[in-house]
Amino acid sequence: MLAEAWLLVTDAALVRRAGEGDTAAFEALVRPRIDRLFRTAWGIVGNEADARDATQEAFLSAWRNLPRLRDPDRFDAWLGRVLLNACRMALRRRGRVREISFDALIESGHDPIAEWPRADRAAEVDAINGAFERLGADDRAFLVLHYVDDLPVAEIARLLDKPVGTVKWRLHNARKALHRALKEEVG
């Protein structure tokens, strides 16, 4: 109910109010965003407990740093980076990330993902999940935003505050990293 009272206030105004210590304005910023951020975090870290921690850390970090956010219109992009940082920390805490080096990737003119060895459905699912667990937080983020949140490249670029070309390149690399991890996963 509290958040509904803020419907007529712009996000930029809410960001400014929250940056002045107004927790009601902050709540009005959190409510419409929490599901998306929580789902993104869950996709990246892979379990509900870590996703909860990462989401909470991201919002609290945003709260603490809000007075220093220079451009309120970039709040979502900034929050996206903060969430990614929180997910990175969650993965570091678990210590289960084995980064895949881009240098070792096989350059190919073909779509690497399409070249996966075909297996039965259950084996494929297990292999993809296992391969995903081998990726770093950044690669996971690009893949989750693209495949789970079904966001177009332009929207990912806006959320992560990166040029569209960079997002395309990073997404391509993330797919290649997944391919590489999959090959390691299936031996």
């Binding site: 940056g19 989401t55 609290l60 007075p67 220079r70 903060v82 779509d111």
Partner: protein, 411 residues
Amino acid sequence: MSDESRRADSLIADVLGGRVKGSAPGDLVQEIVSEAYRTPQLSPRPHWLSPGRATSPALAWATLLLLLTMLAVAGLAVVGGRPVVLAPTPTASPTDSGLIPATAATILATIPLEGRPFSVAVGAGAIWVAHSDRVTRIDPATSEIVATIILGTGRADIASDGSQVWFTSALGNLVGRIDPASNSVSQRLTVDRPSRLAVGADGVWVTGPDTGVVTRIDPASGRIAATIVTSGHPELIAIGEGSVWVAEQRAAQSGGSPSHVDRIDPNTNRLVASIAVPVGVTQLAYGGGSLWVSTEDDVERIDPAKNRVVASIAAGPFPDGLAIGARDVWAGSVEGGFSAPFPQSRAPGILAGIDRVGARLVVRLALPFEASVCSGTGIPGIAVDGGSLWVAVDCGVGSVYRVDVTAFEGR
């Protein structure tokens, strides 16, 4: 895109989508907002870094270089989160900034934890750390984890009177007792939205900032003995001088009425005093005949005989974790750096030692953790066991530092 690529994309989307099995829990927004209410915000960017000034990349790098140089001069260096020994003894000379760099001789152990730590306590011959959805037991003889007790729900606090070990779980509406002999939960009690707790004064005392009450539990029967309505939203708690002391944890920028510490008489279960303190209280601890209150700016000393603040000691920015040592009061804080968007900045955690008798700052010890990735206030709890401080650190990888302060307290 070929059919194979489309099939692969569809498969990835299905599998990754299947990793996410629900929406945000209903209580998460309230939990975040409640914690924001208690969490101080950074002051606005210094004017020399404000928009239109000093924003060129060259100057930003120069500033960063200068900060790193200052840290190096202060005798502190961090490589991969590990301390680099810059001084041979724990009594290295203070630098110009007054910081003494912690050395390998000072930091006896660093114990990584799963998830965020919330609290640490000493009791029943062990160190107990509440973190994530569990309690971990550490053997002080070896500084190694010897048991982990899964509570199933998080946001826990833990406390001991030296023999009994009790915990709260805010998300589970649970207060429980741990049996140190079996490392298992031996008693469970439902309490509405509990927060912190303290053991002593013939009871287990549990604060409820959302309910506005302090719940007293009879440890013998494990039943609620009294529910005491306070004047605000009690969260922080300490026991000493035959009284229970509680205070609201509220960030200064939240405004509202001035903060105060309520004093409860266990004999009558009634409030007997309400003591005004500066706004922004972060922690309470009792020792050396005084109640010590950390606020966002200072550590306040309250004289129980006078029921008022008798001294204010500047102990660093945002002192939080607070513990009573053999000779000093120790306050933990994180100096400077915080989370993104400034991930490149690194600054130390600080343990400030305050002489209990003279109520003056006597030492500032720099801990080499990466403050730029701290959550909350960075140091949510400190416990004392002999000459060691057990410092819960919520910065990137949750951990507990064991810090030897005998050399500092033996001055």
